[in-house]
Structure formats: structure tokens, C-alpha cells
Symmetry: C2
Subunit: 138 residues, 2 copies
């Protein structure tokens, strides 16, 4: 009966083509669905990253089989953190820099592990980290 995990994580972007170049092109997340100027959806492990243009979705809900889908749409920088294997962080730093993506910060956490932070083209804060940064403390 308990919630098992997060199935969909959302970000918002005015330029969905730029978002796709970043999340599919640089981060290599597979595109699952795309509606021009409305949304682009990516598979990310067992879950989904959904990127919407809030100009389209905040006021005009979608529709599935005649049922309106509840509206949402935010403005301003959101945040997501992607889980990496701990030994993949250095390779990702190099890959991001090769792609011209500036590393905004690198932080070492008290629970163990480090995070890399960059910005997506919409200005959302995108972090890369191993699961150890949230390991339960005993």
C-alpha cells in the first residue's frame, strides 16, 4: 500500500527543442513522447522525466480519452538530481565540459559522495550524484 517511489519528475522549459538537445543529446536519455511546443518526455531508468512548456500547460490542460488532465506549469528555475554510479562522476564532468556545459558547482556531502551541478538550457539546476549522498545514517 505504501508509495513505492517517484514515477514522474517534471521540469519546465520555454524552448523544448533546446531541452531535447540537452536531455537526449548530451545526457542520452531516450525520448518517449513529444508534442511540439507542449512537452517532451524522457525515460530515466525506471522512471520518467517530463519537460513541459508552461505557456501551454499551465492554463490549458491536456486530454486523454475525453478526460481533462489536471493543469500544471511553473516558472523559474526548478531542480532535478540524476543518480550516477559513484565512479561515473569524473567521466560525466569530462563529458559535460566537452559538450560545452559549464560546471556550476561541485559539492562534497557530509553523508558521503559528491555532486556536480550544471544548468539546463532553461536555467533549471541539474545535479549528478551517487545515491550515497542520501544514504540513511545509522
Amino acid at each position: 500500500m505504501a508509495i513505492e517511489g517517484v514515477l514522474e519528475t517534471c521540469l519546465y522549459a520555454d524552448d523544448l527543442e533546446a531541452a531535447e538537445r540537452f536531455y537526449a543529446g548530451v545526457l542520452e536519455l531516450p525520448v518517449v513522447a513529444r508534442v511540439a511546443d507542449r512537452h517532451v518526455f524522457f525515460r530515466c531508468g525506471g522512471a520518467m522525466l517530463l519537460v513541459f512548456d508552461p505557456a501551454r500547460t499551465a492554463s490549458a490542460p491536456g486530454e486523454v480519452g475525453g478526460t481533462p488532465v489536471p493543469a500544471h506549469g511553473a516558472h523559474g528555475a526548478g531542480h532535478v538530481c540524476f543518480r550516477l554510479a559513484a565512479d561515473a562522476l569524473r567521466g560525466w564532468r569530462e563529458r559535460l565540459e566537452r559538450a560545452g556545459v559549464a560546471i556550476e558547482a561541485e559539492i562534497t556531502w557530509p553523508r558521503g559522495g559528491s555532486s556536480l551541478y550544471v544548468r539546463d538550457p532553461a536555467g533549471n539546476s541539474v545535479e549528478f550524484a551517487p545515491a550515497t549522498i542520501w544514504a540513511p545514517q545509522g
Copy 2:
């Protein structure tokens, strides 16, 4: 080297106490960290749901060990979908209604499975669904 999944999903809320009553009290997600008027963090399966007050985080970054944490903070309704076992949806509908949380929509998806939609106290769109709604189509 590939991204393994989403480790942190974020929402924003002006009233973090109301957010905690909803996510911890009604949804029973364990609270992992809390800074009054700034953020409250919940464990959700192997990942984290982070709720921030954008009035505090959009302009004033946090700090870890002397390193500024990149700022973010969005306004307007965000969205998250929580993964449930397929047979848990009916029980969740009853639990939410008992807690006084209105069901905004229930949608049956073409890939299989149904979603329930409610709003959190900040107006974010919160969905409950089984993983089948995003099952790869062959």
C-alpha cells in the same frame, strides 16, 4: 556511465508545514531533513522528494562546507507522480478521501493502468499511478 535514474525530485511550496502535513501525514513519506521556512525533504523509495520555499531558495543559495549550493526556486503548479502497486489505487482513493483530499481526476491510460490526481496544499498536481502507464510498448 549512463544515468541510472532520478535521485531528487523537487516541488515548491510557500507553506512548508502544510506540505509536511500532506506528504508525511497523509502520504506517509518519512521526513529526512527540515529547515524551518526553507525546505523539508522526504524519502520516497530509493529517491528523495525535496520541497523548498522558493521565497528562500530562488535568490539565496544554501551552503555546504563553505561551497554555495546553486540556487533554484519556481512559482506556479508543479507536478509529481508517485508509483504505486497497481492493486493499491483503490485503497489510496479511499485513504485520500478520508483525509479530505479531493480527487481531481482519474484517467485510464492507453499503455495500461489508471492514475489518480489530487492537489497538494500548495496547488501542485500530485498523481498516483502504477509503472504500467509508462511501460515500453513493443
